[in-house]
Each structure stands twice: as structure tokens, then as C-alpha cells.
Symmetry: C2
């Protein structure tokens, strides 16, 4: 620690990469870590935008040649390129060369995390990924270090800042399209927002959390995702009637036999629940444990600086020889059949017999109606209403709804959402 | 890791100690950690109440002789006796014998933490104290691992579950005396509740957090404590008028020159702030960082099981060779002069000239009145009202109030509280 600084290379010099560089140069890590290499395509452009920074005093190598870094004396490689390829092969080769790796790449860790950890151990290197879930919120160190002794039974998270920005904006009166456009204008959402609004980004994070917290290996495509794209102001109106709001929730629960129920999608969240308190691009993770009850972490889950704090903290942990507590995880059978209350929103051209038709379809699948809500003020030609049902398997409900969809008075497919309980 | 289990002794077998034993025997640590010794005075009684547990299958030594443990081949000593003595000397001797120590002893760590860390390093041992602050909430690992790269500027915490139980109960309509009695009946408060309600318990935790988060060494007695004992239902009425509630807040902030402003006491917390969401014995810690913004941790800060989770997690970290990231902390000049808006509640026997007298005393100290609030329905012979003032140094306000106290119409000393801002 007192001798030479730990040498760090950054692969991928976008928003997060340049924040990492800034914190490495001016933050509490500056005395211990030295940024030596920056890799990016078209690196000259990146370098030009960096000129006025004190970094230029460093003997910093700017390169488009990743081989130059992998064969250098760099101690830790920070992988911020994202995606499975070529980032995955860079990470593998760095670990094989005995270099430790810090990555924010949730997809890579969700899909190949276990194999990469094995590789790291074989080569005496470390693999840290604190920035892969919930950016600046220390959920991963909190789980790996602080809750290692817990038996975690349940994870409920708001893991995608883009969806939370859109949905908390809709809660405040916005509509989906304009809120998405606003998120795109602010740089929170991509031109193609599918990864975020479809639930796929959050799903990769939920898979990582399930491994660390539930100690269960959950395959990515075993987790059902429901997009937030069909939500309208009406859904928030009805949510309020139920004492709830709507959030994109990533939920995983461990059953008595070690099976996992996991799902990502818009769900009704009681206004009393911490999950309802998240605003804008905030993230929140609730960890429910057998011994210690619920622990909640919240903060900014994305953005250059918060994510960079997680990366630099991982770098410091490696430099201080502070390995993660890695408890073994097991293969788990996975379903997305959350056994919860549900709400179903219908939009119909009103005529007699609709409710009877819905009720009998639900009854045939053993799903019990809890309440029927219909707010006044809508035209009969396009009438929204909501049916809430008692706790049931989502699959039974969906079978019933597939039948209901055959009714020609339905103007769009029913939209079902789980209703989370508050404690 | 694959070989012999790490041997653990527990010193102090009360609520937390027996929870630690239970989790060690049945939780995720059972394959790696072995409880070998339990020390307590009158240990036969403790042993008797433990009989039916599977622990008895273990070759477990129950002893009243701490020397037997310190001279044994135990790897890690868990100190749960509390207080400075004799716990401090046990911890020192364990470290000197090269044994690692896990402790929940906030006072010992607040007062002697730096020296004990030095001692641990000298003897190649570890000292972990994740349970000393906010029990089951992984704030300490979150700070040491997950926020090591952050520049933390501000800590705001609800660090005492007893006070939070009393104050959230008063928010719901209770009065101080009955709520304290209820807390005592439930085992949340001691017969002499001074440590909790006077702020001294929370202060030790704030000192520890300041060292880890602000990297500032704050002497315990440099931090002002104001008790919650004088609060009444009236204070919650007026808080609501201001869009706030009242919580015991522990707050420390780093100034531009490295100075620290720190204080513990009842403060007005905006209802929009996460701190207002804590209920019952919950704890909450807000860490405000330069790079990543605010991160909030919440959960159960006390009680046997949550505290034991933190202890067992520390044991696992040591067993896995996962040391804490220890960044150096500096001596800091400390004041308790929070420069914030304040509210002051007066109770007077009403007569002309009172407000004029208060206003001129405040004006002489350069304190500007913001608003005067007086709820109807109180008798003139015992009239409560509240004055809020613009941001000012607490010391200037207190000088002005010392002068106001000379007015013979005051039925009790004025009660001042800081008003925290919400973001």
C-alpha cells in the first residue's frame, strides 16, 4: 500500500469512463491508484475533449489497441464497454493474464459471472462488479459483506432508472409517450428504449442479485419480463384508488424447497411501501431476510458519477486486498408465477354481459374476484375498468385472460399487474 | 476455506449473543464457522436456557473464565459485553494474542477505535465492528467497501431505535411519558433511558460514521447532544404546520476546510425526506456524497437477530480473508453549530410585549425571524407558540434564548430544534 501505486486501465471512455478518470485523479483514491491507460475507438476524439484536465500531467497512454493494455503491466482493467462481445473476451484475457477486473457490465456478469469468477480464482485475480447493479448504491458490497450471514428470502428492486423516471413522471400526471421523449432528451433513455422499458436491463440485475442474495443461479431467460409501454394515466388513477402507485419492480423470492419465483414488470406498489418513494432516476433495493427483516438501499442507480463511485470503490477494495465474501450459489428451478393479488385493467366498448364473461373465465381457472372498480367520466364506447383478484398464480390468471381476449368488445388486451403488499 | 472451520468464541451471551449462536449453528455460515466457547457471568443459567438447542451436539465450552478463551486456539473473539471496561481490555488482549475481534461495542470503537485498529494491524489480526452502528443495516460495509471512492460530505442518521420508537409513536398521537413506558415494557429502552433519549448512544455511532465516511476523527465529547425528553404533542402539531415531523437526528457535515459540524438531537424533518419515513425501531442513514449524491440505508438497527446478522457477516468476512478498506482519517476541528433554519417553541403566560421581547433578543444576535405560528385552542395562561428563524448558527440562537429566558412570563425554557431541508 505504501509503495508503488496500483496501475489501472479503462476500456471504454464514455460518460462513466471519464467520471472514473476524474475521481481517480482528484478523489480519495488518488494516492493509491494510478490511471495509466485509456482505450476507446476513435480515441483521439476522446483525448481532445479531456485536454484541459490535470490527467494530462500523468504519463497516460491513449490507445485504440486493446492488446497493448492486456500485455502491459497494468494491475486492474476497468471494463466499461458493455455487452457480451468483445467485452467478454477482453475480461477473460485480462483475468487469464492475472489482472484483476472491475466491470459495470451487468449482462456479462448475469450470463457468464460464475465462469468468470472461476477463471479469476484460477489466476489469482479478482473480479468486482459493484457498478453492475444500482450504480452508486452499495447494494453488492452491502450484500456480500454486510448481509453474508443473513438468509435472504426476497428481493424487490427498482433497478432501472429510466423506467422509474417515466413512471414517477406519469404518477405526477404525465403520459407515457411524452415522458419517454423527455427521458430520451435528458439522455436517460436510448433511441431504442426496449432494453429499459421492456424490463431486460432490470432482469440482468435481478439475476445478479439473486445469485448474491438468494444464492440461486437464475438463468436470464427464465425470468418473465412485462414491458411498461402499455401503461396510461388511467392505470395511475386506478392505482391511487387502491392506495398504490405503479413502478417497474424486479422481484425474486426463494421458496421453501429452494425454488425461485422471479419476474420484472410494472406492479402496483402501496404508497406506504418504500418502493413508492423512489422518484426520477432513483433506484431502490429491498432485501428481506429471515433474521434481520427488511433492509432498504436507495440512491442514484445510474449516471456517470454515481456509477463511477462504485467502480473506484471496487478498485480500492482490490488495491487493499479486500476480497469479496463469495458464498456458493446453487442451481434453482425458476418460475415467474408470483402468487399475489393482481389487478387487471380492461378497456371495452360497453355492452351487457362483459363482467359476467370475465367473471366466468376467471372462475374456470379458480381465480377469485376481489373488487371491480370503475371511475366515472369515461365514454361507454371506450370504457376502462379494473378488476382486482385474490392471490393467485399469474399463469392461471393469464390463461383466463387469454379466454377473455376472445370477447370482441375488448378494445385492447387486458393489462395485468401484481399488487405488492406493504408490511 | 475448505479445511478446518474457523473457531469462534462469544463473550457476552445476552440477546445478541444467543442470536449469533443460533445463526452460527443454522445459518449460511454453519459450514465455515464453529462456535467453540461461550463466556458469561453465571454461565450455568445461560447454558440451562440453551439446552434444547442443537448447539449442545457441539463440543461447546461454557465458561466464566475469560482467560481460558484468550489462551485457547480460538481464531475470532466476538465481544458483546459492551462498555469500555473490562470489554476493552479483553479486546486488546485478544488482538495481542493474534486473534481477530468482532464487536458490537459502539462506545469502545468510538473512543478507542483508532488505537485498537493499530493494535490489530501490529498483530496481523482483524477488528470488525459492523454491528456497532445501525445493527442489521450494512452501513459500515456499505461505506468501507461500496463508498470508498466517494467524497462524503454529510451524514444524517436515525441511529437510535428507542428514540425513533418514542418519536414515531408521538407522531401518531402518543405523549412522551407513555411512549417511553411502552418502549421500556417492550424491552427497547432501559430502566434508566438516559443513554438513548439523551442522545449519547447515537453520538457514539455518529463518531464512528464520521471516521469512516468523512474520514475525520471526532472526539465524543465535542458533539453536542440535546435530549428528546422535553418534546410534547404540541411540538408535533407545530411540526405538521411546517410540513415536518420530529426525529432524533444525528448529523455531521464536512466543511470546506476539513472542519466538522456535528450534533445529535430532535430536529424537524420534512415529511418528504426519507428520514421521516422511519417508523418504530427502524434506523436510517443518509450519506451525502460529492459524486454520487444521497444514498440511503434503512432497516432494523437493533434487536438480537438484526445485530447478530452483522456480527456473523463480519465473522464470514474475516474467515474469507476479506479485510475492510481502511482509508486514513484526520484530526478535525469540531463544532455543533449547525447553520440551519431553526424552530423555537415557547410556552408563556400571555401578556403584551412577549413577541417584542423575543424579537429584540433575536435581533441583537443577528437572528432573523422567519415566521410566528400560533395554533388556536390554548389557554392564555399556558400558551405555546413557535417562532421559526432563518438559517443561523445555533450558538447565536442559544445566546438570544438565554436572554429571553430571563422574561418571567416564560413557563419553561424555550425548546429549539434545527429544521432539516429536503432536496
Amino acid at each position: 500500500m505504501q509503495g508503488a501505486k496500483t496501475k489501472v486501465a479503462i476500456l471504454g471512455f464514455g460518460t462513466v469512463g471519464s467520471s472514473v478518470a476524474r475521481i481517480l485523479l482528484e478523489g480519495p483514491a488518488a494516492t493509491e491508484l494510478q490511471l495509466t491507460h485509456v482505450f476507446n475507438r476513435d480515441v483521439a476524439r476522446k483525448r481532445a475533449s479531456w485536454v484541459a484536465h490535470p490527467a494530462t500531467e500523468n504519463p497516460l497512454v491513449w490507445t485504440e489497441d486493446v492488446e497493448a493494455i492486456l500485455s502491459s503491466d497494468v494491475d486492474i482493467v476497468v471494463e466499461l464497454a458493455g455487452g457480451l462481445d468483445p467485452a467478454g473476451s477482453w475480461v477473460r484475457r485480462a483475468l487469464e493474464a492475472g489482472k484483476s477486473v472491475v466491470t459495470a457490465n451487468k449482462k456479462l456478469i448475469a450470463v457468464h459471472g460464475i465462469a468468470l469468477h472461476r477463471l479469476a480464482r484460477q489466476h489469482g485475480a479478482h473480479l468486482f462488479f459493484g457498478a453492475a447493479v444500482a450504480g452508486g448504491i452499495p447494494v453488492i458490497p452491502g450484500l456480500q459483506q454486510g448481509l453474508a450471514g443473513e438468509r435472504v428470502q426476497r428481493i424487490e428492486g427498482i433497478l432501472n432508472g429510466t423506467c422509474n423516471y417515466i413512471l414517477s413522471g406519469m404518477e405526477a400526471g404525465g403520459e407515457y409517450g411524452p415522458m419517454l421523449a423527455e427521458a430520451q432528451a435528458r439522455g436517460y433513455a436510448e433511441a431504442d428504449p426496449t432494453e429499459d422499458v421492456g424490463g431486460f436491463d432490470a432482469r440482468a440485475k435481478l439475476v445478479i442479485l439473486s445469485r448474491l442474495a438468494l444464492r440461486a443461479n437464475v438463468p436470464l431467460d427464465a425470468v418473465r419480463c412485462r414491458a411498461i409501454t402499455r401503461l396510461t394515466a388511467i392505470d395511475f388513477d386506478y392505482a391511487r384508488l387502491l392506495g398504490c402507485t405503479v413502478r417497474q419492480v424486479s422481484r425474486a423470492e426463494l421458496g421453501a424447497a429452494g425454488e425461485v419465483t422471479a419476474m420484472v414488470g410494472p406492479m402496483l406498489v402501496p404508497l406506504r411501501s418504500p418502493l413508492a418513494w423512489s422518484r426520477g432516476t432513483e433506484n431502490m433495493v429491498l432485501i428481506g431476510g429471515e433474521y434481520g427483516g427488511d433492509v432498504v438501499f436507495s440512491g442514484y442507480g445510474a449516471g456517470g458519477h454515481p456509477t463511477a463511485v462504485a467502480v473506484v470503490s471496487d478498485l480500492l477494495a482490490i488495491a487493499h486486498g479486500s476480497g469479496a465474501v463469495e458464498l456458493p450459489s446453487k442451481e434453482a428451478s425458476v418460475s415467474s408465477d408470483l402468487h399475489l393479488r393482481h389487478s387487471v385493467r380492461f378497456v371495452v366498448s360497453d355492452r351487457p354481459g362483459i363482467v359476467a364473461g370475465i367473471a366466468s373465465a376467471l372462475a374456470r381457472e379458480g381465480v377469485n374476484i376481489d373488487a371491480l372498480l370503475q371511475k366515472p367520466g369515461h365514454a361507454k364506447s371506450s370504457l376502462p375498468f379494473v378488476v382486482t383478484v385474490e392471490p393467485c398464480a399469474g399463469s392461471a390468471l393469464r390463461r383466463a385472460l387469454a379466454e377473455v381476449e376472445q370477447m370482441d368488445c375488448l378494445l385492447e388486451p387486458p393489462l395485468e399487474m401484481e399488487i405488492l403488499e406493504s408490511d
